[in-house]
């Protein structure tokens, strides 16, 4: 066998994720030598790296076919990867920006936050890019392990430690399911390469159908934990409530993005030929059922929450359900391309909206280690009108009311489900969206119609920038979705070429 040359490895296209991991090492090394008063260099370096890679990543759309694979097929550099990278870098940007002042005033300004966040982001990007089950597994751990540490960053705060240990134990548990699933799929198909698995399954060259189904099921469990799908969601509210708010904000989008990128890669590239009824693939009904349960449980339980972070935790479960609806629709071959781009668009819309909502939550959080409650929003429109306006926009977007990103995203997802013949699923989506209005709009009511304590807190500039940018993103995606939908539509998985 000939050794691959450096050119075969095609390193340049892997730069967004690899470069981010390398840059994290630089930030870590520099951070070690920063004295107290120069700590802002952590922020500057992290943001600089993220922005530079974001711009570079824009050149990676529509690569010629011979440049679309790197590391001999282990890394896929198609439009799907480029779009996932784009969302991941946006998430990391907000994650860094909203944490800077928060870490300072809660006295957890440990330099590790920034490299950990960057490494975790590179894991999310790699999950979207994986062309092999081995890469998928390593990427999942690269995404998860830094998140365990970040959840516990506020030690010796008991809630933060508890959330870190819970997240760690359940995360490791779910990875074990994923690995065992990988082992069984490898055993059934005789390969870990995603397109090779597809070809073998398609040609009927598998060892045992039961082995393949069991493997696929276990992988679905493992990834279901990561995206917080019912019934694998138990950890989500506890972890979201206990982790430092900025970390929760990053995690709510970053981990979900990685999980969905991996899920779509595996189930649409490798396993579409697993037999099922009619044209649809065998896993479509299962994922549709999980999506329905996730939407219902997330939205219904969120109503009862008083703690804002816990409520947003249940809300994030509900949104995982909406995206899973897209994944289920992608099981029908005719709808596949549209459903994948609808899911990606929704992830982008969700990233802006949810990060914005968390940035506002960070802004109203007090310094005394208590979590913000729904009543803390009372009278916000008087004391900080701009912040209240932005929060109202995010809440409208999470509910799915125009003119915001959320409504456009939901519209595409419902359309995908209907086109795939799953009208019942789309109906559940619409009904649960109406239910969700109850708890989202309660915050708006608290801000505008209730009287608050009337004391304005100190303005925080970086956080203000984060809120502003998120609001602009939410609004622009809502009024001019064409710009990004076109990009997302080009991001369909070119799976079957091999």
């Amino acid at each position: 066998m000939e050794l691959p040359t450096l050119q075969d490895l095609n390193l340049a296209v892997t730069l967004p994720s690899m470069g981010l991991a390398l840059w994290a090492c630089v930030v870590l090394a520099v951070g070690l030598f920063l004295p107290e008063r120069r700590r802002h260099w952590n922020l500057v370096l992290s943001l600089g790296g993220i922005v530079a890679l974001f711009l570079y990543n824009l050149t990676l759309f529509d690569l010629p076919a011979d440049r679309q694979s790197a590391f001999l097929g282990m890394y896929r550099a198609d439009n799907f990867t480029a779009f996932v990278n784009l969302i991941a870098l946006v998430t990391a940007f907000f994650g860094v920006l909203m944490a800077y002042e928060y870490l300072k005033r809660t006295h957890i300004d440990r330099g590790e936050y920034y490299p950990l966040l960057l490494i975790s982001t590179s894991g999310a990007m790699l999950m979207g890019a994986s062309g092999d089950l081995a890469v998928l597994f390593v990427a999942l751990e690269l995404l998860s392990i830094p998140l365990y540490i970040m959840s516990g960053l506020r030690r010796p705060n008991a809630a933060s430690e508890e959330s870190a240990l819970k997240y760690f134990l359940l995360g490791a548990f779910s990875s074990a399911f994923l690995v065992y699933g990988v082992a069984l799929v490898y055993g059934a198909a005789g390969s870990t390469d995603l397109s090779e698995i597809f070809h073998r399954v398609n040609a009927g060259l598998i060892l045992d159908q039961g082995l393949l189904l069991a493997g696929a099921g276990l992988m679905l469990v493992g990834l279901g934990f990561k995206v917080a799908a019912v019934p694998f969601h138990m950890w989500t509210p506890d972890v979201y409530q206990g982790a430092p708010t900025a970390v929760t904000g990053y995690m709510s989008v970053g981990a979900k993005l990685g999980g969905f990128a991996g899920l779509l890669r595996v189930f649409i590239v490798a396993l579409p030929a697993v037999s099922g009824a009619g044209d649809a693939t065998g896993w479509q009904d299962t994922i549709a059922l999980i999506a329905a349960l996730t939407m219902i449980l997330g939205n219904v339980v969120a109503i009862a929450q008083r703690d804002v972070k816990r409520m947003l935790g249940y809300s994030s479960i509900a949104h995982a359900g909406y995206i899973l609806m897209g994944a289920a629709a992608a099981g029908s071959p005719d709808v596949r391309d549209f459903a994948v781009s609808a899911s990606l668009f929704y992830l982008l819309a969700y990233a802006f909206t949810n990060l914005g909502a968390f940035a506002v939550t960070v802004a109203i959080e007090k310094d005394d280690a208590t979590n913000p409650q729904l009543d803390d929003f009372n009278g916000l429109s008087k004391t900080r009108p701009v912040l209240a306006l932005a929060m109202a926009l995010f809440m409208l977007s999470l509910t799915g009311i125009p003119p915001t990103a959320g409504v456009v995203g939901k519209f595409f997802l419902f359309q995908a489900a209907v086109n795939a013949g799953m009208v019942w699923l789309a109906l559940i989506g619409v009904i649960t969206s109406v239910v969700s209005a109850f708890y989202y709009l309660r915050i708006v009511v608290n801000m505008y119609l209730r009287e608050g304590p009337g004391e304005a807190q100190a303005q925080r500039s970086f956080l203000g920038v984060a809120v502003g940018l998120a609001a602009v993103g939410t609004f622009v995606l809502g009024v001019a979705p064409v710009l990004f939908l076109d990009l997302a539509q080009r991001a369909v998985l070119v799976a079957l070429g091999g």
């Binding site: 089950l133 081995a134 597994f137 390593v138 751990e141 392990i145 365990y148 540490i149 516990g152 030690r155 010796p156 008991a158 809630a159 430690e161 508890e162 959330s163 870190a164 240990l165 819970k166 760690f168 134990l169 490791a172 548990f173 990875s175 074990a176 399911f177 690995v179 065992y180 990988v182 082992a183 069984l184 490898y186 055993g187 005789g190 390969s191 870990t192 060892l207 082995l211 509210p237 506890d238 409530q241 206990g242 009862a304 929450q305 816990r310």
Partner: protein, 104 residues
Amino acid sequence: MEPAPLNISAYVVLSAILFAMGALGVLIRRNAILVFMSVELMLNAANLALIAFARFYNQMDGQILVFFVMTVAAAEVAVGLALIVVIFRTRRSINIDELSRLKD
């Protein structure tokens, strides 16, 4: 030289039993370290299956994946034990039933 034919189903069944024991341990055990050890058992069950399949197909892929799993498991141990130590310092206990501050 061709390796001797392998009775693959025996290995798969053994690994499934180990995996089930690990999963049961995670659900039943209350000590964080024992829960974590059960997770390791699950990972090693997967490793056994991977190696058996690699031998069955006479390929290297499965064996290489085992190295990745072992490396990642080591990274997880490093983080997990650190978290358990931190928790023990604050609470003097690593019983996961006592981790119940966070709830509705």
